[in-house]
């Protein structure tokens, strides 16, 4: 299939870039280094290590999806490789979707490679320690057991990476959609802005709902932002777990809803990108 041919080639070409390889190695090294963190005793160290690891993967994912995405189509036009492709029996939408999937494949491999290394290193660290004591009793009547087994595999880490993955799946489609009519530099900042604004979705929602302090027009504006900009906060799983004022719902339902949200949004963005690109001069 033509879409798959283009995706495969895009992926192969991207993965062979030195800059991406170097970046990946640095990110992996940081994850491994983060794991050697010891400061406050095992329990708190593990919490810090886990959030550090996820943050490294999050930031890497953000950088990779932006830097790969912004050049996917403009590079083909600048270097005129697009001419030999579109003069063959390839439809414009096949090209757009093929390029998107190629970029996505690159992003996926990078995120999951980091994710797997992270989870495996966590497991090794946990296994090496085996069991830990809970430390001195905190107060009179503390009846916790003296020692307990360290959890080797933490499923919430897998979930965290999955949610990181899906937010950059969504961001990649935003970048792709922008790239059919923006230069790479403009696209970089525009997509980054969308990501920031979209991550702050709860703020817009509460501003839009605040009838006392703001007028109708301003609230309408917040409402529009909240509606149009993809809600990246849907993927912010740690927020939900920490802040109790979010509705308490079942986790599987929350996760599947977020993934469905990403899929619908990505399809929409790709349709828009294909339509715009179809009438574009190359």
């Amino acid at each position: 299939m033509v879409i798959w041919t283009i995706a495969k080639t895009t992926y192969r070409e991207a993965m062979r870039k030195k800059i991406l390889q170097v970046f990946l190695i640095v990110a992996l090294a940081m994850i491994v280094l983060a794991l050697s963190f010891t400061q406050f005793g095992f329990q708190r160290d593990m919490t810090i290590v886990k959030s550090l690891g996820l943050t490294i993967i999050l930031v890497s994912g953000l950088i990779i999806s932006l830097t790969i995405g912004i050049t996917l189509i403009p590079n083909e036009v600048d270097r005129r490789t697009i001419y030999t492709i579109l003069s063959k029996p390839v439809k414009r939408y096949e090209f757009v979707i093929g390029k998107f999937l190629g970029g996505l494949l690159t992003l996926s491999v990078n995120i999951w490679l980091m994710g797997i290394v992270f989870i495996v290193m966590l497991a090794i660290k946990a296994a090496l320690i085996g069991e830990v004591s809970t430390g001195p009793a905190g107060f009179v009547g503390d009846v916790r057991p003296e020692t307990y087994k360290v959890q080797i595999f933490d499923p919430s880490m897998l979930l965290g990476i999955l949610m990181i993955y899906f937010q950059f799946f969504l961001l990649s489609a935003v970048v792709m959609c922008f790239s059919v009519f923006m230069t790479p530099t403009v696209n970089f900042f525009a997509s980054f802005a969308v990501y920031l604004v979209g991550s702050a979705a709860p703020i817009w929602a509460s501003l839009a709902a605040d009838k006392e302090k703001t007028g109708l027009l301003v609230r309408g504006f917040y409402k529009v932002i909240h509606t149009i900009i993809p809600n990246f906060d849907y993927f912010n799983i740690s927020n939900r777990l920490i802040h109790p004022h979010h509705e308490v719902r079942s986790l599987p339902l929350f996760v599947s809803e977020s993934i469905a949200y990403a899929l619908v949004y990505v399809c929409l963005l790709l349709i828009i990108a294909s339509i715009v690109f179809d009438s574009r001069e190359v």
Binding site: I6, R80, T84, S87, V90
Partner: protein, 306 residues
């Protein structure tokens, strides 16, 4: 014979960066028959590449009609039967020529078995068999051009668009690519080739069009455009006085450092001039039927000459 390319009243207007507009192609009419090698000439910026891009459906015309193999330009089914070599092609740099051709073969939906045979034979044919597995990043311009020609022949096309295929190549690559185009001519393919290398076009094309500022300035059979009924007489050791007399009766003549070149159609005048030259102790260098070069025709046409 059927029409391969039909262009009528074709205009492409661009917004120029300094404000205002520019007609890159301006009300162009042109037909190319099947089996022709059509040379599309014009100075830089004449609109050649723009015309080719319209014919491939890469950009759309502002107005006018562009038909390729009987269908409107850009038709997806027609694209199976045509191919394109862009000007100074550039490809994915981490790929090897073999990977590149496999990729393009997949875009043409050529099956696995068939793909291998075609790719191998094409690599051989364009002279890249040895370098086939090196990344294109390490290729010279000539090698890239060879890879470009190979990708344009993958689908065994009926109609091939070549945009400046021989520009900037070393003599060997240059000769090889000319030969490949001559092969296409022998196979009865239609080739639409834009070029600056007028010598090449003179050798390979049946018909040429010259484009100046987006407008058609001249079109015709190469043979007819380049042959004349005049005779060219060249002699050395001619003084100014004799040259002056000869200039009066010749159709065209010039004198450079004692060497006279005169063009004369009338047989009596030819005889007269030769006698005058011999009587004045000039030494005849040559007497030949005059053949114009495409180069001269081109320069005259572009300069607004005849």
């Amino acid at each position: 014979m059927a029409t391969a390319i039909e262009i009528q009243g074709l205009t492409k207007r661009f917004k120029s960066p300094f404000g205002g507009t520019l007609n890159a192609v301006d009300n162009l009419d042109l037909n190319v028959q099947e089996g022709e090698i059509f040379g599309f000439l014009g100075p830089n910026g004449a609109g050649k590449t723009t015309t080719i891009k319209i014919l491939l459906g890469l950009i759309s015309p502002t107005s006018g009609k562009a038909m390729v193999l009987g269908k409107p330009a850009g038709d997806n089914n027609t694209k199976k039967r045509i191919s394109y070599l862009p000007e100074s092609p550039y490809f994915y740099e981490y790929m090897s020529a073999r990977e590149l051709l496999n990729f393009y073969a997949d875009l043409f939906r050529i099956g696995r078995e068939e793909r291998k045979t075609r790719v191998d034979s094409l690599l051989e044919r364009v002279g890249l068999a040895e370098a086939a597995d090196k990344p294109l990043r390490h290729y010279s311009k000539g090698m890239l051009q060879r890879a470009g020609v190979a990708q344009a022949l993958l689908n065994n096309p009926d109609l091939v668009f070549l945009d400046e295929p021989t520009s900037g190549l070393d003599p060997i690559a240059h000769a090889d690519i000319c030969n490949l185009i001559l092969d296409l001519r022998a196979q009865g393919k239609t080739v639409f080739v834009s070029s600056h290398q007028l010598g090449d076009i003179e050798m390979i094309a049946n018909r040429v069009a010259i484009l100046v500022s987006g407008k058609l300035a001249m079109m015709g059979e190469v043979k007819e455009l380049l042959t004349t009924k005049q005779v060219e007489i060249i002699a050395d050791g001619v003084n100014d006085e004799v040259a002056g007399k000869i200039a009066e009766i010749s159709d065209e003549s010039e004198l450079h450092a004692g060497r006279l070149t005169a063009y004369i159609q009338d047989a009596a005048v030819q005889k007269n001039v030769i006698e005058m030259l011999l009587k004045n102790n000039a030494s005849l260098v040559s007497v030949n039927p005059r053949r114009r070069t495409l180069e001269k025709l081109f320069v005259d046409t572009v300069r607004g000459g005849r």
